[in-house]
């Protein structure tokens, strides 16, 4: 670690002009792991949409979705730098670790946010650009600034921000919205609470320390486990609605039902065992679950026309 970094780590957040941030520090501000899930669900929305989009514009739309999500992450890290410094999970992020000055992170995030929306609008279409702007605004203003520190429902409502990408992908192709992207939105919306509450069950102490009212902190672990089961029981049938309505085929439906059964089993294990291992297992599986679910949406869109109605 350089002398500068040691100094800034000791004094908390870095001031402007005294840090030599690396390019990697700025990449870390974009929350690359979250970005990959956003990108994948956006791609699924795009592939599932009827109609054609020029491959160059499809790639442009995906870049805009990824950069817009990354911009939200950077602005979120700027705003949350005080609480990030107090939690082991986040204390090594570039701002609390003193590797990026807060103002630099904000400027970086705002530039990318405005740039991604402008390129989406000018290059692809303004419906997709509007949805991207709404997503960024929702994550920054509604989730990060308004809900996160005020209510245990922060994850429930804030989860909508992460649910928009399939809609944006769909709108990039068609220029409008339909039932299928709305269902994909709903799936991520109801997936987010059990996913995040599983994490918060074994990180509750950390959230309590920095004053973020996560459900286990405010309502207790028992209530959180109950809510995880309730949301899982809403989520899994919801994932099967596109199949029930004939919007997708058996290629999606059968594996989705199987994966859903595993998800519910994981949620019930969390409720029954009350162990950290069960919560960790559900958290890890929930990520795989969403990836596989949207991989099935893509597989169905590519191969489904031959199986439609099954």
């Amino acid at each position: 670690m350089s002398q500068t970094a040691i100094e800034t780590k000791r004094t908390g957040a870095a001031a402007e002009g005294d840090v030599a941030s690396s390019a990697g520090d700025f990449v870390a501000l974009l929350k690359p792991r979250v970005m990959s899930l956003v990108l994948f669900t956006g791609l699924a929305g795009m592939v599932a949409a009827p109609g054609q989009i020029h491959p160059v514009l499809a790639v442009t739309a995906l870049i805009c979705i990824a950069v817009g999500a990354g911009a939200s992450g950077a602005i979120n890290m700027w705003y949350d730098r005080d609480i990030d410094a107090g939690m082991t999970r986040t204390m090594n992020r570039p701002i609390p670790a003193g590797r990026v000055a807060p103002a630099d992170a904000l400027g970086f995030g705002v530039t990318l946010a405005v740039g991604s929306v402008a390129v989406m609008g000018l290059g692809v279409n303004w419906v997709a650009a509007g949805l991207l702007a709404l997503t960024i605004g929702f994550y920054v203003f509604v989730y990060t600034m308004w809900l996160k520190r005020r209510t245990p429902q922060n994850i429930v409502i804030g989860g909508a921000a992460g649910a928009f990408p399939p809609m944006i992908g769909w709108a990039a192709v068609t220029g409008d919205l339909a039932l299928m992207p709305a269902l994909l939105f709903a799936i991520i919306f109801f997936w987010t609470p059990p996913h995040f509450w599983a994490l918060s069950l074994y990180k509750a102490g950390e959230y309590a320390k920095v004053g973020v009212p996560m459900l286990p902190v405010v309502a207790g672990e028992a209530e959180t486990r109950r809510q995880i089961v309730i949301y899982s029981l809403i989520l899994v049938p919801l994932t099967l609605v596109p199949w029930g309505l004939g919007l997708v085929s058996l290629i999606y439906g059968a594996p989705a039902a199987l994966l859903g059964a595993v998800f519910i089993a994981g949620a019930l294990r969390v409720a029954r065992e009350k162990s950290e291992a069960a919560a960790r297992a559900l958290f890890a599986f929930s990520i795989l679950y969403l990836f596989l679910l949207f991989a099935l949406v893509i597989a169905d869109a590519l191969a489904g026309p031959w199986f439609r109605g099954i």
Binding site: S2, Q3, T4, A20, S21, S22, A23, F26, H54, V56, L57, T60, I63, V119, G123, V124
Partner: protein, 46 residues
């Protein structure tokens, strides 16, 4: 404190250089992207 001062400066220069290279690549990629989007739009592909 002078001890290690040169090392800190060279580390800062190394990082700044890395950042500048990354920014140049991003700007170059944007130029290519905007050019290709323009061609696609003008040929009616968009």
């Amino acid at each position: 404190m002078q001890v290690g001062g040169g090392g800190v400066a060279s580390e800062m220069h190394r990082r700044r250089r890395g950042r500048n290279i990354a920014l140049s690549l991003v700007l170059g990629a944007l130029v290519v992207l905007f050019y290709v989007i323009t061609i696609v739009k003008m040929s009616g592909g968009g």
